[in-house]
Symmetry: C2
Subunit: 235 residues, 2 copies
């Protein structure tokens, strides 16, 4: 800190906040975890989850802390989305906010946390207006999700360890917000050879039941090392 003072002290300092755009997939719908803000300004309005960075933590660390506090989950998929720093983005003062985009397996998110923090899963189509620039963060996050989903196997972050192909397809349809051809989808995803077919079927959605699969992370890693490109086309 002594150094800090001597070299940089003539420069202004800013509050640094983090906002998390948290996606989940539940009942065939892509959802966002939001809540009603509990402090001024804009108390009571819908908002993303966020918090201020502390003196003794790094950025990523802070984002992980906030996600952990909110969900009790660790090792969540998370990446930086963008940093927002307009002068007047927060009416209560100058705040630089780093937006993070996270995917959580909704089934692992417990109600207990929901009650504690007033968190609510809201379908993307039923999203209320959010405070400040949070709407544009969500918009950008969705575009990022769409791009990522088509070039990296991140869909699996949103599903249980064991899932069916129709479930996976429904997830992609929710992300792309468009229908996908059943046969082509199966062919493509299975041809990559990164799904492990299990013995059991899941019968919650049909009488016939659909086979369960799991994602073979190791095999995927090897493919990537060999230059393989995961792609699921958008239309």
């Amino acid at each position: 800190m002594a150094l800090n003072e001597s070299y940089y002290s003539e420069h202004p300092r800013f509050h640094v906040a983090l906002d998390c755009i948290i996606f989940g997939f539940d009942r065939g719908e892509l959802k966002l975890l939001i809540h009603k803000r509990r402090f001024e300004p804009a108390k009571g309005e819908w908002s993303l989850f966020g918090g201020f960075m502390k003196e003794d933590e790094g950025l990523e660390e802070a984002a992980n802390r906030i996600l952990y506090e909110l969900t009790g989950l660790e090792e969540i998929y998370m990446e930086e989305l963008q940093t927002y720093g307009s002068i007047d983005r927060d009416p209560a003062g100058r705040v630089i906010s780093v937006a993070y985009f996270a995917l959580i397996p909704a089934h692992r998110y417990s109600e207990a946390y929901s009650n504690r923090y007033g968190a609510t899963w809201v379908g993307l189509k039923d999203l209320p207006p959010l405070i400040m620039d949070h709407d544009s963060m969500v918009e950008k996050a969705l575009r990022r999700l769409q791009r990522r989903a088509s070039s990296q196997p991140i869909g699996f972050e949103l599903l249980p360890k064991e899932f069916t192909i129709p479930q996976l397809q429904a997830l992609y349809e929710a992300i792309y917000q468009s229908k996908v051809d059943k046969r082509n989808f199966r062919k493509k995803i299975l041809s990559m050879g990164v799904l492990i077919k299990l013995e059991e079927k899941d019968k919650t959605n049909s009488r016939k039941g659909a086979f369960l699969y799991s994602f073979d992370k190791k095999k995927y890693r090897k493919l990537v090392e060999g230059g393989y490109n995961f792609t699921i086309s958008r239309v």
Copy 2:
């Protein structure tokens, strides 16, 4: 500011800096604009260009200011790369740095600025070690540039308004760091219909001379609106 005090004042504040990864293309080589740092810590070592954000400017504004001060150029292609905020990234104190990735037409960059700021164009392959986490910024920026170049027509940001196809191809080869087939490249780029063939030839590189082209921005915009996807494959 009154509000700021009342609501947020219990939270710490941080220095916010910006670092610019500035690419240029000159003599068939992809280059980076760097300089020897003029203040402590790490004075005299190679560094990206950067600066601290001021109280009365937004993030993008600050990035544009820094680029303008350094190059005298406006309307430069620029996008946020990532925000770096490890606790110990700067030995002199806690600084959150937002890294920006910029493309400038090297031919428009004047020597005058170079002298004033000690700026130097260095080929990517001859890059000296940079201070702090700047090396990883550059690495990430290069990957970003490669991805962008293959899906958006940003190559033109690095070339003069009028350029030849061999020049354009050399640029792509420099970005991808690999050779590209001449005939396939031509076919692909011309089939998109966003290049306008001019009358003149450029004879600086061959006796025969190569026809000059310019990029048709309007046509490109229309194509994009119609759902067109610019792609130039990587290999």
